[in-house]
């Protein structure tokens, strides 16, 4: 252990190093300058200079989602801190482990409305898992240790460390001791398996006739994909994933029935509605899944495995609550099933799977749109996703922004691996796609990282194109350009008589190709279907370049299926003129 004397700033950077951090994202400013000087004088931790603090936090978040390791961002006080807020809220809603360090004004100035002072602890309070205001330089190592412990255990989440400038003063040094372990009497998240109800869960599984495994982001976060897949294979039960859970079970496996919920597949929503057993793993029954909770899956018993006790029976009553690690609890469940030489209702299960197949055949998504060519002379946005899937062999990391393009990507790119699909599911943050892709690309420099976006979302953090040039990040930006805020417009079409209030731009969009090129990258415009596949090929083949593929897509396309609000999950619109009720 390094016990040499260090300043608070040096202690901070050294503590990060001891936590295994080798990369952080940030933006300097007055209250953080001592820390930046300490960064300059060491070689352990690389710093990526973003163009806006929101980008720093999203990049750290993207890094964390792709790697499973905590992401780190560093910002200054005041506007630096407030610019980080959207990033924090995004990470909080999706439970991603990040640590955000904010400079603060000197401790004697706190509360005096001094220059660039914001109460970061107060402003961030409802959107962090926890936060620390440093009170003494000597506390920094201990606080960093606690921050990483809290961010990465239990239900993960963002932690803020706010450090007044005087506690990073290079003139004040103290003996550096990094704690080897921490003991927090007030924080004991569930670890390991909860086996208290495993037998009852196995009993329900053995007698189920119409079961569904419904898994969410918690399975990806807890690296429990292997166990989830093993359980599904053992039982031959159909699997559906939430938007956050995609990739936990292979998207191209026939047992996978697609995403569920608001824009879930017909067969997934029908299966949930008609199920007699729902095995929920790392999912939280949010409103985009259940539709009206009072009408949700009324004939199903629910087994709910979750690490967060507050998520269990919050919205939907759990008949069998299992509060523990998804990975360990699934392992315990599999063992229990194996050791009692489980027999499921095989004929009922195969009949159920047949029923689901019939639903899929009747109204499932069409994954062969690419072969159908232009539709009314236009490119369908779904075709662009299928082309991306084809040219990347389904192996790319895909980040997205928020809106129609996000749903099309989730529906049509089959994610076979966890952590491959990276999007803001909970908060729905436009502007997340590009900076999060930077975090992913820096974590995996050799992999293809594509950002599926729209002309609305991309403009919310487009300044990061400059960061991508500075650090040579060859992200493939796939812009589904429908010249409108597509999802807003879709709702206006459906619920507001087609009145497109402030959802179009009246010819004010930039020339994205020229814009990208002015940042030193490659821009490619696609406006005809015949150019789509060759342009996509070219885009993916330019390995060392950031490419902005600007594709004009059919502006009138809607995302379907779509749950009808206030109803059960079997109430879906299937196209502009078809509905299930």
């Amino acid at each position: 252990m390094d016990k040499s004397n260090k300043s608070g700033a040096e202690a901070l950077i050294h503590s990060l190093h001891l936590e295994g951090v080798d990369l952080m994202f940030g933006y300097p400013g007055g209250a953080a300058l001592h820390i930046y000087d300490a960064i300059f004088n060491q070689n352990y931790v690389d710093h990526i200079l973003v163009r806006h603090e929101q980008g720093a936090v999203h990049a750290a978040d993207g890094y964390a989602r792709a790697t499973g390791k905590p992401g780190v961002a560093l910002v200054t006080s005041g506007p630096g801190a407030t610019n980080a807020i959207t990033g924090l809220a995004t990470a909080y809603m999706d439970s991603t482990p990040i640590v955000v360090i904010s400079g603060q004004v000197k401790s004697n100035l706190i509360g005096t409305d001094s220059f660039q002072e914001t109460d970061m602890i107060g402003v961030s309070r409802p959107i962090v898992k926890h936060s620390f205001l440093v009170q003494r330089a000597e506390d920094i190592p201990d606080i960093v240790k606690k921050a990483f412990h809290i961010a990465t255990t239990g239900r993960k989440g963002p932690v803020v460390i706010d450090i007044p400038k005087d506690f990073t003063d290079p003139e004040y040094k103290f003996e550096f001791n990094y704690p080897s372990e921490i003991n927090m009497r007030s924080y004991n998240p569930p670890e390991g398996a909860d086996t208290s109800s495993i037998k009852e869960a196995a009993d329900l599984i053995a007698t189920a006739k119409r079961p569904v495994i419904y898994s969410g982001g918690g399975v990806n976060q807890n690296n429990a994909s292997e166990e989830l897949t093993a359980l599904a294979k053992l039982l031959n039960f159909p699997v559906t994933n939430t938007l956050m859970g995609l990739g936990a079970f292979p998207g191209s496996d026939p047992q996978f029935i697609g995403m569920l919920g608001m824009h879930g597949t017909y067969q997934a929503n029908m299966a949930m509605h008609n199920a007699d057993l729902i095995i929920a793993v790392g999912a939280r029954f949010d409103d985009r899944i259940t539709n009206d909770p009072k009408q949700f899956a009324l004939s199903a018993k629910k087994i709910h495995i979750d690490v967060d006790p507050a998520s269990v029976s919050k919205i939907i009553h759990a008949d069998i609550p299992i509060v523990g690690s998804a990975k360990e609890s699934l392992t315990a469940l599999i063992e229990e099933l194996k050791c009692r030489d489980l027999k499921t209702n095989e004929s009922d299960i195969s009949e159920w799977n047949e029923q689901i197949k019939n639903w899929r055949d009747a109204h499932g998504l069409n994954h062969s749109l690419l072969e159908m060519g232009a539709q009314n002379g236009k490119i369908l946005p779904q075709q662009v996703i299928q082309s991306l899937y084809k040219e990347t062999n389904g192996e790319a990391f895909v980040t997205s922004d928020v809106g129609q393009h996000q749903m099309f990507a989730a529906q049509y790119y089959h994610f076979d691996k966890p952590r491959q699909w990276i999007n803001s599911g909970g908060l729905g943050t436009m502007g997340f796609g590009l900076p999060s892709a930077m975090g992913v690309q820096l974590a995996y420099p050799e992999s293809i990282v594509s950002c599926v976006t729209g002309e609305g979302s991309i403009q919310m953090c487009i300044q990061e194109l400059s960061t991508c040039l500075q650090y040579g990040l060859p992200i493939k930006i796939i812009n589904l350009n429908n010249a409108a805020l597509g999802m807003v417009k879709q709702w206006q079409d459906m619920q507001y008589g087609g009145r497109h209030s402030s959802s179009t731009y009246e010819n004010s969009l930039p020339d994205f190709v020229a814009l990208t090129e002015s940042y030193g990258h490659v821009g490619i415009k696609v406006s005809k279907f015949d150019e789509l596949e060759s342009s996509m090929k070219e885009c993916i083949s330019l390995k060392d370049k950031l490419v902005f593929l600007d594709v004009d897509v059919d502006p009138n396309e809607h995302v379907y299926p779509m749950l009808e609000a206030g109803n059960a999950m079997d109430h879906m619109r299937l196209s502009k003129d078809e509905k299930t009720w």
Partner: protein, 159 residues
């Protein structure tokens, strides 16, 4: 139905705002709130009363338990418990209801003003307030509920 929740939390700056913030953030209503240090200087005890059905209170206690600074939470109203509240009332001498209070209630008295204190359940205090309404009390101050379980259960930690 009125529920009383008690918790122990780290005596840290910001801890109280996290507890109070959680209530507004999640749309729960706090009726009364009392915070004081315990005989362990590192801990504060917070007692709150709230209206809500069992499901809401279960959510509240779970969410409180999730706060990093909260060491222990208990829903006292889950079993037998004692609830008490302190009330101070100011009267002018002319309107002092002598039939309601005796000497032991009086905490200060001068030529014009009498202050009294009363301890009871919130319900008893509510009743008393309506009884003395006609005497036009100048000021009524209530402490908010404190609670302790009736049986051997305690909300304490071993150090």
């Amino acid at each position: 139905m009125k529920r009383v929740i008690a918790l122990l939390m780290e005596n840290q700056p910001g801890a109280l705002s996290r507890v109070v913030g959680l209530f507004s953030q999640r749309g729960y209503n706090i009726e009364t709130l009392v915070v004081a240090p315990t005989n362990d200087a590192t801990l504060s005890r917070l007692t709150m009363s709230t209206e809500g059905d069992e499901k809401v209170v279960e959510q509240i206690t779970k969410q409180l338990d999730k706060l990093i600074d909260v060491v222990m939470v208990t829903n006292l109203s889950e079993s037998e418990f004692v609830e008490r509240e302190l009330m101070l009332i100011k009267f002018t001498k002319d309107s002092f209801p002598e039939n309601v209070f005796d000497e032991t209630n009086i905490v200060s008295e001068d030529n014009e003003i009498i202050n009294v204190q009363v301890v009871g359940t919130s319900l008893e205090l509510d009743k008393l307030i309506s009884e003395i309404d006609a005497n036009n009390p100048l000021e009524i101050v209530r402490s908010g509920s404190l609670g302790i379980s009736s049986d051997e259960k305690t909300l304490t930690i071993e150090n």
